[in-house]
């Protein structure tokens, strides 16, 4: 075994890349849940985004358009969920699970003729000046633009929820939808918008997998990342910065265990593979757990 083969700088840099898809999907779901909706279809929205992003990128030749298409695709399947649960008042848990199955099937269908094609490489965007810093530069400031976008979205969501009027209304809707309705806020409208935002973020996360991480289209390439994102939202107590921590932890241990495997670490592969899940659950459970939004997963109907 040769531990010196593991380069800590590279490790930390690839941690940020590994965490990005989950991070994106999870921050979207966080907003959805803060609005009081439980959408278990993250996996389905991610893979729809993955295939949409891939198709658009190949046909239009631009990864930028590809990511936009992925966000749109994710938002559209999320809108199906939104109409079913918010307008037709179907059960959120069942509909979310159905959305996952639907998304997996839809993506497989759409992606049939794209199997085996390689996605164009997305150039890195080193941040001027900052990327020249020793150590910190290559770890933090030498990535593709979507990594920065992920962190920006986290910061934006945190600011939105904490300081903006609209964020306050969104939290109010999630906390007590009857009271929010009595005060004259449009519960269903707020929730639909939140659900679409969640879908768009999940779509971005999926596209990051198919365009950057893998980077090609294969069926079922999300491989449960959507479920991890769901779990991280809960363990992060519905708070954006904790969510960032949870995603990086998960990404970090994933990258570390891959490196350990490559270095021939004397532990069966099965244990190494489960390490990211165990570590994430352990750390997030140990942190003080928060309170779920008061109206989470309840259907809202104005007459009740």
């Amino acid at each position: 075994m040769d531990m010196s083969a593991i380069n800590p700088v590279l490790l930390l840099a690839s941690l940020m890349v590994a965490a990005t898809p989950i991070l994106l999907a999870a921050i979207g779901e966080l907003v959805v849940e803060r609005a009081g909706v439980l959408n278990l279809g993250v996996e389905g929205m991610m893979i729809t985004g993955a295939v949409c992003g891939f198709i658009v990128t190949i046909n239009a030749g631009s990864p930028l358009l590809g990511f936009a298409g992925a966000a749109l695709g994710g938002a559209m399947v999320a809108l199906v969920f939104g109409i079913l649960t918010q307008v037709l008042l179907s059960n959120q848990v069942a509909t979310g699970l159905a959305l996952t199955l639907f998304g997996l099937g839809l993506a497989a269908l759409l992606g049939q003729s794209y199997i085996g094609i390689k996605a164009p490489v997305i150039a890195k965007w080193p941040v001027p000046l900052l990327s020249d810093l020793p150590l910190i530069g290559p770890i933090l400031f030498n990535h593709d633009p979507v990594v920065y976008l992920g962190i920006l979205i986290i910061a934006a969501v945190w600011y939105f929820l904490t300081y903006s009027r609209a964020g306050l209304v969104l939290r109010a809707v999630g906390e007590n939808h009857d009271a929010a309705h009595a005060l004259g806020y449009h519960v269903v409208r707020v929730r639909l918008l939140a659900i679409m935002f969640g879908g768009a973020c999940a779509g971005l996360g999926g596209a990051y997998l198919s365009l950057v991480r893998v980077p090609q289209w294969t069926e079922g390439l999300t491989a449960g990342a959507g479920w991890i994102a769901l779990a991280i939202v809960v363990f992060a107590s519905w708070r954006p910065w904790r969510l960032l921590l949870g995603a990086y932890l998960f990404g970090g241990v994933t990258v570390l265990q891959l490196n350990l495997q490559a270095a021939g670490f004397a532990l069966p592969v099965a244990y190494l593979s489960m390490a990211p899940y165990l570590a994430t659950i352990l750390v997030l459970v140990m942190m003080r757990s928060g309170r779920a939004p008061g109206s989470l997963a309840q259907s809202f109907h104005a007459s009740r």
């Binding site: 009027r165 939290r171 007590n176 009271a179 009595a182 005060l183 309170r291 008061g294």
Partner: protein, 507 residues
């Protein structure tokens, strides 16, 4: 005569199967406190929701200061100067006071400025409130202050208050009335909804009485007796429960040194509670909501278990027993929350009857339900307690609050309890049904059962209890004979060691 602030003309609103408001017309003058009286289901809530823009009337017009007023949503009503304090508070537990207030305003200033204005208004009207506190941790009185201040910050012309005093101590009611009078003197009109007649006589300048959706009379509450108003409201003469002198028997249940941790984050810990009840006695326990009522009921019913010897009944230690074992011994309880605690909303009345009566009414045989017998029992409860429902096959959710309350209380009383614990027996129940429930509790005690009645309605407790104790912050005061207790003494018992902040009113 000058233009009224708000004129209602022929307002009508029908829901499938019910006419909630029928041709309702009356005027509210600027700077008057106008009472809207009526029993539950008389259409008061629908009417105020119409004024506040939550409900669109089928017919009729409203005029605000002479101009046509048709708010499409609460925002429009708020913009026109109509504000409302809800009966079931429209507050968000997990948020702080300032955030809650910002949510009720049209164009809220930044948080810091809200905090400053909250402090200003709370000083002005004697409503002390810290804008940074989390609402879930406030008492009911403080929560109401949040709602009131939220309204006041918008300088309303008309303030609607829906049953504002139902959760307050006498001292808090005094503070509230003082605030409302100051508001009136500053020119704000108040539409005050209540069925507590003495309050209306003390506070209001005019009154409109609703019955079955129609205006059945208007009166000057200062010149009309409470009895006359009650009869207008009910439409017949009111039956007042009779409290006969009862012989009190031996001690039947003893609770000693009960302490319990708060069961959830917004709960109250019970601290060292001692209590004894005798046969034929009604022990009234007063206190503002959230001072340990739910927890005390849970500890008595068996939902919270304690050490074996903490609770003794008829010489046996039962502190460690669960609810069904206690029921078998004759200790029955009816918790406050009807939907979801006292009754399972989506199950039928038969099933709900079965859930608590299974042990004492012998409703199973070798593990199988005796449905016929269960149905008969449910029907008997419905008949004896005048529950208005087509039959025992209807779900609990389909009943109105008052009817369901009669059912859940009747279900326990018909099992002939030895000790009966009831929390808020008449919450949200109209006057005649409330009288019937109180009479049933008195009859139960006459038959030799011990009754522990927990309530926030002090008039009710004074009407039926033999001894009175108060819960405050999870502690129970020493019980005192109910006869001859003055309102001030009760208020002090309820306040416990806490500062009631009465002084701020004069400040």
């Amino acid at each position: 005569m000058n233009t009224p602030l708000l004129r209602l003309e022929g307002l009508t609103k029908a829901y499938p199967g019910v006419v909630a408001n029928k041709d309702v017309s009356f005027d509210i003058q600027p700077g008057e406190i106008h009472a809207l009286l009526g029993e539950n289901g008389a259409g008061k809530s629908t009417l105020v929701k119409t004024i506040y823009g939550l409900v669109k009337p089928d017919a009729g017009q409203m005029y605000l200061q002479g101009a046509s007023f048709e708010p499409a949503e609460p925002r429009a009503a708020r913009a026109a100067g109509v504000a409302m304090v809800f009966q079931h508070f429209s507050l968000f537990d997990a948020m702080n006071v300032a955030e809650n207030i910002a949510l009720g305003m049209e164009n809220p200033p930044p948080q810091r400025e809200i905090a400053a204005r909250v402090r200003l208004v709370s000083d002005q009207y004697g409503l002390p409130l810290d804008p940074t506190r989390i609402v879930g941790e406030l008492s009911a009185g403080e929560r109401q202050r949040v709602e009131i201040i939220r309204c006041l910050l918008q300088d309303p012309k008309l303030l609607i208050m829906d049953e504002p005093t139902s959760v307050l101590t006498p001292q808090e009611v005094a503070i509230l009335f003082e605030t409302l009078r100051r508001l009136r003197d500053a020119g704000t009109a108040i539409l005050y909804i209540s069925h507590k007649l003495e309050e209306i006589r003390a506070l209001c300048d005019a009154a409109t009485v609703l019955r079955l959706g129609q205006v059945v009379g208007t009166c000057d509450p200062r010149a009309t007796s409470a009895r006359e108003m009650a009869e207008l409201m009910v439409g017949s003469s009111l039956h007042v429960p009779l409290k006969a002198a009862r012989a009190q028997g031996e001690v039947i249940m003893t609770l000693q040194g009960l302490s319990a941790k708060a069961p959830h984050r917004f709960g109250t810990a019970l601290r060292d509670i001692d209590l004894t009840v005798r046969r034929g006695e009604i022990l009234g326990i007063g206190g503002v909501a959230g001072n340990g009522q739910d927890e005390l009921v849970a500890a008595l019913s068996g939902e919270i278990r304690t050490r074996r010897n903490t609770l003794m009944m008829q010489g046996e230690s039962i502190g460690h027993l669960g609810p069904n074992a206690r029921r078998r011994m004759g200790l029955l309880a009816a918790p406050e929350e009807r939907m979801g605690h006292a009754a399972a909303p989506d199950m039928t009345l038969t099933e709900n009857a079965l859930l608590t009566a299974v042990a004492r009414q012998d409703l199973t045989r070798r593990g199988f339900v005796r449905w016929g017998k269960a149905r008969d029992y449910a029907s008997a409860v419905i008949k004896a307690f005048d529950v208005r429902t087509p039959g025992p096959a209807n779900t609990a959710r389909s009943l109105s609050g008052g009817n369901l309350q009669k059912f859940v209380i009747g279900r326990e009383i018909m099992q002939n309890p030895v000790v009966f614990v009831v929390n808020q027996p008449t919450w949200g129940v109209d006057a005649s049904a409330a009288a019937a429930i109180r009479q049933a509790l008195l009859d139960l005690a006459d038959k030799g059962a011990a009754v522990i009645c927990i309530s926030q309605d002090l008039d009710e407790l004074m009407e039926i209890s033999d001894r009175f104790a108060a819960l405050n912050g999870g502690r129970l005061s020493a019980p005192r004979p109910a006869q001859g207790l003055s309102v001030e003494q009760i208020g002090l018992m309820l306040g416990g060691a806490h500062d009631m902040e009465v002084a701020h009113v004069d400040a």
